[in-house]
Symmetry: C4
Subunit: 209 residues, 4 copies
């Protein structure tokens, strides 16, 4: 019943939301630079005063870009959609729309457990939605591109990212002084995914043979 255009609209709408959210991240810094009280300030002063805001901007840009790449790579295996795919996509878009709020809060508020939990929790939820999408797509002949099965790698890669975000949330909230640096745990996703991709390539190879 669903059309190709329906699928493309769904992907396009999601992409537009992500593109807007990632571009809006700079706005609080632009606003801070445009405040009339700033006219006497120097650029060096500005960078020093807003260093937490700048850090939060860089983190959120990297995280949204990383989540978008995961979504992009996931939908390379999708040929159609269902109502469930539509709703999971909107839930994922919701987490991306929310992200600028904990970004601003972590930049402006004192670093405390609740702010960290909200920030990293939003990322965790976003990654979880992608994992649910991967699990929903995989093996569903009405959704999955038959010529490009999703393979273990995408599902496991997504699950690994979700586990690492959960780990970062726990470490960031409970280990004193770590806070947002817990996100460095995400750097482990790269090597792990590389391993999984090699395994998946072997699996796909043996499936093709």
């Amino acid at each position: 019943m669903p059309t190709t255009r329906g699928l493309e609209r769904l992907i396009f709408f999601t992409d537009a939301v992500v593109a807007i959210a990632i571009t809006l991240l700079i706005l609080p810094l632009v606003d801070a630079a445009s405040e009339p009280e700033n006219t006497a300030k120097t650029a060096a002063h500005f960078f020093t005063e807003e260093r937490q805001q700048i850090l939060a901007f860089l983190i959120s840009f990297a995280v949204i870009a990383r989540l978008w790449v995961a979504h992009h790579s996931l939908f390379e295996h999708v040929a159609s959609y269902s109502r469930r795919i539509l709703l999971l996509n909107l839930a994922w878009a919701f987490t991306i729309v929310v992200l600028p709020l904990p970004t601003a809060m972590s930049a402006e508020f004192d670093t405390e457990a609740l702010t960290i939990a909200f920030y990293l929790g939003t990322m965790l939820l976003s990654s979880l939605m992608l994992t649910l999408l991967a699990l929903t797509i995989r093996g569903d002949a009405s959704i999955e591109e038959s010529a490009r099965p999703i393979g273990h790698n995408a599902v496991q890669g997504s699950a690994v990212m979700t586990v690492l975000f959960a780990l970062a949330l726990v470490v960031g909230v409970f280990v004193p002084g770590v806070a947002f640096w817990a996100l460095l745990l995400l750097l482990l996703a790269g090597p792990i995914e590389a391993v999984l991709n090699r395994r998946a390539a072997r699996l796909a190879h043996s499936r093709d043979a």
Copy 2:
């Protein structure tokens, strides 16, 4: 006379407007978090103080997402467009562009009849435009996808939503203390649409046979 690209531009433009409007909903909260006076506040304090703003954000996100899903599902049955379709689409986009204003007002102003009427009235108008679109598309051989007739379900589903928004407006404005909670009436749309979809499926089935 109209081209496929012309139709796709029309849909794309509408999607882009909706994507922007839904993403901008978070901006008033981001601004509130970025206010210099907030630096001493805690996250718990922020969430408490902005609870009405957060509620309004959640309501408007859900409503815009719901309206977009309705638009998405409607245009699965469209193969071309007319000037009337173009203008109704722009009128629908207008209601979506306006929605962030009553959202902000209902969060900041005292709850009063006029604010509720403006908020729920904008949603009602938006739903009404979709119903007019459905009625315009249906049975027009130059617009409707012949292989995918729109069926009773889409028109009736859209009409049901419009009636529920009208009901929510009346209840929200006139029953003291209800206000925006009247939107919970919209939850009835799901079950009702499910019933209508089953009826429509049977209709489509008997039409195919």
Copy 3:
């Protein structure tokens, strides 16, 4: 040399800019509603105080929508693009990006000749770019869709709109008390275009025969 995807990117980019500009028009009103000083105000008070802002929002929404419809209808006749088309499109997008500024100025500043000239002048420039686009496309076999020649109607319709904007600018600036109401002259475009379309249809018909 140009690809179809290159043309579609060009149109898409333009559409995205217009969609953003038209959606951002509501932001000054949202900001005004979110100002902390407003918490004691009523909705009726807000609408009264911001009536000029609301009027400016409605005018700019209508004008951008009208210009977009003209662009949309113009590109129904385009099969390819040239560097000149690319640059004229960017110049048109520039006028749309600028439009929110005179909108905000005309809402906030005292009504004076310079504000009116800037507001209506931006619209005139925008319409002029569309006319230049129409003239560039028309009769250029490397650009125009051969199966759908642009015809007199599009060029003349665009020229009529440009002349009406120029007229509105002169009347709005020089006739005391008229100001933005001079834009009502644009309502003449509809009837005039209908006449031109009929003439163009006859021309296209005789060309086909």
Copy 4:
């Protein structure tokens, strides 16, 4: 392994980011016009007071438009993508997202070396990413459109622009009183590119023969 839709999403996402960034450039001016203190001001007063902001807006609009045209013309030669293309694109999008910040800073802060370096340095980085993209695409049979080889002209044109931005950065920072006017050096890119295009046309011609 990559799909055409995957490539189109990549390009679309980039275009959406650029469209948003270029449209947001007007926001600081809209905010300045909407400030309540402005109600007594005249338009002439506003233009005089915000002349640096207006100049920064015009410069950034022209630069982003120029960079987008370069990206647009580059991807006319692309038939597929790789992870490296994806990441370089995101890096390029990052420079475009950042650009509104130095724009606002150069408008609000005193003109000093660090602000100029940040502003022109962001542009240089953006142009550098495009050059890296051109070098990555060129000669890679799995990426390049075989029927439309990228040719010397695109790579060299991109390299010329990068060199001119680097030159502008050095002149703007170190020659007193020049500041952002160093960007006028970019006007040399046009003539130089014309020469390169003619050379490339001859090369392509001799390759075809």
